[in-house]
Every structure is written in C-alpha cells, then in structure tokens.
Amino acid sequence: MSEPFIRAKGLQYTYMAGTPLAVEALKGVDLEVWPGEAIGLIGPAGAGKSTLVQHLNGLLRPRARGQLWIDGQDMGDPRVDARPLRRRIGLVFQRPEDQLFKTLVGDDIAFGPRQLGLPREEVRERVRWAMEMVGLDFGAFVDRPVVSLSGGERRRAAIAGTLALRPSTLILDEATSGLDPRGRRQLLDLLRRLHREEGTTVILVTTHMEDLVGLAGRVVVLAGGRTVLEGSLREVYGQADLLRRHGLGVPQMAEVGEALAARGCRLSRVPLTVQEAEEEIAPRLGVSCGVV
C-alpha cells in the first residue's frame, strides 16, 4: 500500500484567532486518506467538517499546531503554493450553483479548463465529458442561458464545472443538501461512477449516513472538532449509542436492528439498507423476502 495521499495529525484551527471573537473549530483531528479511496465524513452541525475539508484543498492552512501533508507536501509551510493543489483536488461546496457567473452554461463549465490554459479542443472535450457525467445533455444545454435552468440543473452545471478540471480527488461538502431524492440518487450514482471508472478519490461530507451506502469504504466521524470514531460503514452504523451521544442521527435501519436486539432478536449483521434488513428479518418470520 502506498503512502496516504492526505495525512492530518492533531490538526487544529481557530477562526479569528487572537480576537475576542475567536472560535476553535478544530481541536485535534487525525485523518488519513489513501489514493483511490472513497470515504465518508460525518458529524453533527458545528463539528468542524467544513473547516477540515477546506484544509484539504489548501484554502485553509494549519497554523500554530497540528500537521497536514497533502501529496507529500507539508501544508504548514507557507512557501507551499496551494493553487496547483486545488486543480487536482476539487472541492464542491454546499450550494455550488452560487458560483455560476457566465451567461451560458458551456462557458461557465469551460472556465476551469480555460484557466488551466488547455487548448480549445481539449476544453470542449472536457466540457462534454463533464456534462455527460452529471447528466446534462451536451447538445441541449451547452448554449442555454444559466438563468433558464432549474435549481437542480444549475447544481449539476456547477458540479460539472469542477469535474471539468479532472481532479484526481473530489471532495463534496454536503453537496446533496437541498436536492430531491431523485437528484440525490443521481449525484451519488455519479460519485460511484467516478470512483469506480476513473479511480477518483472521493470524500463525501454528509449528514445523511444513508448516502454513504455502496460508496464509502470507510467512515470518519467528527464531533466537537475531533475525530471520535472511524471504521467501516457497518462498524460505524452499529455504534448507535456513540452516534447519538455526539448529536448524530442514527440511520433508520440501524435503529431497527437496535430495537430488535433490545427485544432479544439480534441480527447477524448491522443492516445498511432496507433490503438488507429485509433479508435479515424475513427468514426469522418464516416468510420470504418481498412479502409485506
């Protein structure tokens, strides 16, 4: 196994340090991300997830204490220029559609690649690829004015703008918020595709643990500015008490499993999806799956 692509040790960060309004957002975070991984980052509001994630593409830098290495570079060293890093690590914020500024969709998506100085044909190809990945038909949407798009379409256009940079790592900070279930599913499918087909390292910050199913191999739980739990999805799902204690909601199916166990019926493994729960419970009821 190679070196971790991202490595944080005791990472700390204080907003407005030295003023009476100082807020310590990160109190000591340890994190390792290997190339090609897909991990989930969860935690209650105010846990420091956004702060952490903004360190991962160099927007924020470690100051006094804590260390962070990205791709072998010490991010605490002020001489390190984060800009090239941001082209390889794409960070999508919570309402990415707020970043749209060109009149036409194609122009906005092409912004990133143009900034990279790529030749015209390659820019066009990247825009086409990015639009296809997010489900916006190239022919139909490339010349559309941004203001004529629906909210969901705008979000997809914005994500395409980041994808067009072809980052090797993609970080999404609660990018599913505000999306309807279908939109959410489409986005998660996109991430799965990127992870499997392109080998993109994916870091998904979310408050919906259900989003991580079928995507994240590992989950890191952040609370109060610290890493409090880490493990596979099933391991973390199973720690309902710990999750609750840190102000996190427990996934529905895990709660079902927990309730059953409390009544003496322990399932063989923590169910991640409704289907898994069905498969576990149905035999015990003496019925076959699919029967309500």
């Binding site: 009149t103 036409l104 092409a110 015209r120 825009v127 490339v142 004015p145 941004v146 203001v147 004529s148």
Partner: protein
C-alpha cells in the same frame, strides 16, 4: 401602494443597497490605484446596475446609499463634504438610467456599456468637479486624479456591469452559443 416605488423597486434597491454597504465596508478598495480616491472605485457599480435594471428612481436611491456610506467612511476633507459626496452620486443612477433607456432600442449591449461609462464619469467628474468648486483641489490636480481614477473605474465597471446584466437577462454578448 405607491405606484412609483413598487415592491420590485423596493426590494431590488434594498438588495443592491446591501451590496453597496458591503463594498463600502471593505475599505481597502478593490483596485490598487494609487490615488486618494480609492474609496469610490467600485461602489458605483451597484448603483449603475440598479439604474439599468430598474430605472432612475432605484438608481437615485442607490446613489444616496453610496453617498451615505462613502460619507461615513471618508477620512479626507474633500470626501467629508456633503455637497461633494451626495449630489454627484445621486445623479449617477439618473444619468445611467436615462442613457440606457435612450440607447437600448438600437443595441442592448452598447446601451449597457455607454450607460455604464456615463454613470462612472458622472461620479468621477461630478465629485472632482464639485471638489474643485469648493476649493479642495486645484484644477490640474483634479484632472490628474480624475484621469488616473476614471480609466480603471470605467473599464472595470463596464466589464462587471455588462457581465451581470447580460447574465441576468440570459443574453449572451457577442455570440448566442458558448465559446467552445
């Protein structure tokens, strides 16, 4: 309901006014033009946008905002003079709106650009002009500062105003298709 100040005008003036206040609060001034007029360099942009999108009244009100916040934050005698500060700024919105209305029939983009230039110059020439009349500045110095400030201010304003107005209206500048 006041027929002149419709809900739309109230709200747009409010929101663009908020941007004006925000720009005024970031006192470093966004363009590193080495003149003591750093304050005014982009606060005129929301005024111009308001004048173009919603008419002379919104423009005038935004100009008043511009005046108020520029007055509050000013630390140079000339900019702390109400006559220098308010009159030209209120006029920005009006001249912009009238110019735009006059030209839009021929060409939308040209109308926006010319209106922006007129608006920016109303600000620069107006402020410096009254500054000279009130004897804060000798004429040659005023002309010097004026030219030094007006050029970047106008170019920047034109670029931004055109980008905003066209993106908002869904109108592309030169081509109707993306530049790919």
């Amino acid at each position: 309901m006041n027929s002149l100040l419709t809900i739309r005008r109230i709200v747009v003036a409010g929101l663009l006014g908020a941007i004006t206040i925000l720009l005024g609060a970031t006192r470093a001034g966004f363009i590193p033009v080495p003149t003591p007029l750093g304050d005014a360099t982009i606060m005129h942009i929301p005024v111009i946008i308001g004048g173009i999108l919603d008419g002379w009244l919104v423009g005038a009100i935004l100009g008043l905002f511009f005046g108020i916040f520029s007055f509050i934050h000013a630390t140079i005698p000339m900019f702390k003079d109400p006559l220098v500060v308010f009159l030209p700024r209120i006029l920005i919105g009006i001249t912009t709106a009238l110019t735009y209305r006059g030209l839009r029939r021929s060409n939308e983009v040209v109308a926006v650009i010319v209106a922006t230039v007129v608006g920016t110059l109303t600000n620069t020439v107006g402020v410096l002009g009254i500054g000279v009349l009130r004897r804060y500045l000798p004429l040659p110095a005023a002309v010097g500062f004026g030219v030094a400030a007006a050029i970047p201010e106008t170019i920047l304003a034109a670029i931004i105003v055109v980008a905003v107005v066209l993106a908002w209206r869904g109108v592309a500048a030169r081509r109707r298709t993306a530049d790919l």
